[in-house]
Structures are given as structure tokens and as C-alpha cells.
Subunit: 206 residues, 2 copies
């Protein structure tokens, strides 16, 4: 149904045309090879395989073909991953037809599309970069001590518990937290904890 609405939206634009709708990634790639579209709209909420791999495959086969990702998630992490995978834009499904069309046209014009709040977060980190060398965000900017604190935060420790474990003052831990937030461009304490929890999870399997 999502696709139906999207097709309708595009069909209303006189200068745009939907040349194919793929059920899955293999068919999408095959169609891209044969039909040579100007733009690929990728739904990243696909169960069964993920859209990021599809974007990477598209990038390999046709580096010039821009990919605009439609997602139902509003997480900046996804937007970052999309850009790192080589996608040209990221727009949420519930954004409304106007914004989606704006995204489509912006990407067709060769630009990157991100919603404002996303671009604020993401742009600074990986603007212009096309080398996906580093896997995770800028965690590597953290010092050893900050890194240590981040991990303890990610395990659910309180500031006091961290201070005790590291044998330092609570004030010191607070300073580390502030520095971590700045380096990771996080605004609030809950966001810091959330990031830490996620990061710890990705680091240690299970």
C-alpha cells in the first residue's frame, strides 16, 4: 500500500515516471541493470535482508545512480548508516507527500537530502566523505578515560558507581560525561545513555 501511494504521488508529477517496482532486492538490482533508472527509491523497512546492503550493491553496479531511502524510523543512526552506505538521502515515510517529493527532486538534482534535524546531527560528522573506513561514529575521538566512562554508562551504571569504580571524584566523571556528549554531539543525558547502551551492545556480542 505504501508503494501504491508513492506511485500515485509520482504519477501526479508530469515530468516523473515510475519505471519499476521491485518486490525484493535481487529483482530491484536486475531491474536497475536493465532499465537504467535515474533514481532508486529504497524502502529500508524491508523485513528480510536490509536496505543498506541493497544500497551498497547499487553503488557497486551503478555508482552514478542516486538512492533515496524511505524509512519508518526517525533515528539519526539510520540516516548515518544510509549515507555511509552510499545513499543520497533519507526521508521518513510519514513525512507527507510534499516533503517526499522535495526529497526526490533534491536527490535528482544531485544533492543530498536529509531532514533538518537529521542533517544537523549527521552533516558535521560525515559530510562529503565517501570512504566508509570507520565503522562506528566518532567514538574514536574519545580519550581512553572517556571511552571507559562510556562503556560503564552503557552497562547501566550511575555516575556515582562509575566514580567509585574508577576511583575518582564524581565531579571528574561528570566532566568526562560532558566531554563525551560534546564529542558525540549529544544534547542530553538520556541521549548519552541511549548512545552508550547501543554502542556497548554493538561492541560485545550478546
Amino acid at each position: 500500500m505504501m508503494r501504491e501511494g508513492l506511485r500515485q504521488l509520482i504519477a501526479n508529477e508530469p515530468d516523473l515516471e515510475v519505471c519499476y517496482e521491485a518486490e525484493d532486492a535481487p529483482r530491484a538490482l536486475a531491474a536497475i541493470d536493465s532499465l537504467r533508472p535515474d533514481l532508486a527509491l529504497v524502502d529500508i523497512s524491508l523485513k528480510e535482508s536490509n536496505g543498506l546492503e541493497l544500497i551498497k550493491d547499487i553503488r557497486i553496479r551503478q555508482p552514478e545512480l542516486p538512492a533515496l531511502v524511505l524509512s519508518m524510523h526517525d533515528e539519526s543512526l539510520y540516516a548515518e548508516r544510509v549515507l555511509r552506505a552510499g545513499g543520497q538521502g533519507y526521508v521518513m515515510k510519514d513525512e507527507g507527500g510534499v516533503k517526499i517529493m522535495a526529497a526526490i527532486r533534491q536527490v535528482l538534482a544531485g544533492r543530498i537530502y536529509l531532514s533538518e534535524k537529521m542533517s544537523d546531527r549527521v552533516l558535521g560528522k560525515l559530510a562529503g566523505k565517501h570512504a566508509p573506513a570507520s565503522t562506528e561514529p566518532s567514538v574514536e575521538l574519545l580519550t581512553d578515560r572517556e571511552f571507559e566512562v562510556l562503556q560503564l554508562i552503557g552497562r547501566g551504571s550511575t555516575t556515582r558507581q562509575i566514580a567509585e569504580k574508577l576511583r575518582v571524584s564524581v565531579k571528574t566523571v561528570e566532566t568526562h560525561r560532558v566531554n563525551i556528549k560534546q564529542k558525540l554531539k549529544l544534547d542530553t543525558a538520556p541521549e548519552l545513555i541511549r548512545f552508550a547502551v547501543r554502542w556497548v551492545e554493538t561492541q560485545s556480542p550478546e
Copy 2:
């Protein structure tokens, strides 16, 4: 865009008509009062207020008006809560037009609609055989409001932000947090956040 596709879908049915599309819950309720529709389609995507409250409000105002919930989440917990709140059905947005129409017609016919796997789970649970085998242990102890708070915590919101979003006092949110911690047997605030983040992640996998 979602709405556009949905309207298109319904417009293609000769015997069905879309009488109104509401931007938010208050407008929806007002329109329900004046237009007296045969069915309410409720988007439960939980950005901006929540659909459960809307369903309850609908139930109060017009007990005979059936509500079919459209969601992008596929957790059985949602389906259960929807039914408990008085909804007549639960269907996922990416289900395809055919299934969505089937759901609409089934609910219009006075029946409850659930996807197969959900009805299996929900009915099985009500039947007494306890085969949860999924999700965290005691999240189901939470009330709707607590559940909502838990999700916002898991998305990295501060207490204040949650209070603003839910339009209640900070104190109320704090009370909810305390109750959640008790029910989930969590000791500290960071542990609560950690749990919430993990739980939210299991709801919308990458």
C-alpha cells in the same frame, strides 16, 4: 503520503467512501461527532500523542463506532493493547492493499481483525497456555501510560520532554517512572533507561 495511498485504496472501492482525514486526535474526535462515520482508521505510529488514547476516546463518544488500527509495528503487545483499549482490529501498514481492504471489510462486518500470527498469539495467551517465548518478561505488567513513558525513555527523551509530549506534569512522569522501575525490578534511573533503550530496539529492529 500514507493517508494519500490509503484514501486512494478506499476510493477504488465503489461502496466505500472516505469522509474525513484528521490531522490530529482532537480534530478526529470532532469529525467523528459531526460526520458519524461507519469506521475509524487510526494510525498508531505514536509520533505526537498516541492512538490508544484516541481509541478510548472514540469508545467513550461512540461505543458502536469500530476502530481499525494501522501501525508500522508488528509487536503483538500493540495488538493486545489496541484490543484492550476497545479497538476492533490491527493491521500493519506494509501489509499491502489487499490485506488492508480485507481488514476494513472484516471490521465493518462487525468482526475483529488480526493478522494470523497475531491472533494466534493473542488468542493463545487468553486461552491460558503460556508460551511467551518472546520479548522481555514483565513489560506486560505496565499500564498503557507507563508503557508509553517507557518507549519515550527508550527513545532518549528527558523527563521534561516526556512530560511536554504527554501534556502532563513532570511529577506525573516521575511517578510513572517509579512505577515502571518497581514493576520491572529495576533499581536505578540509568538501568531504567538502559532497559527502555534495549526494549525499544527489539520493537523496531534495524
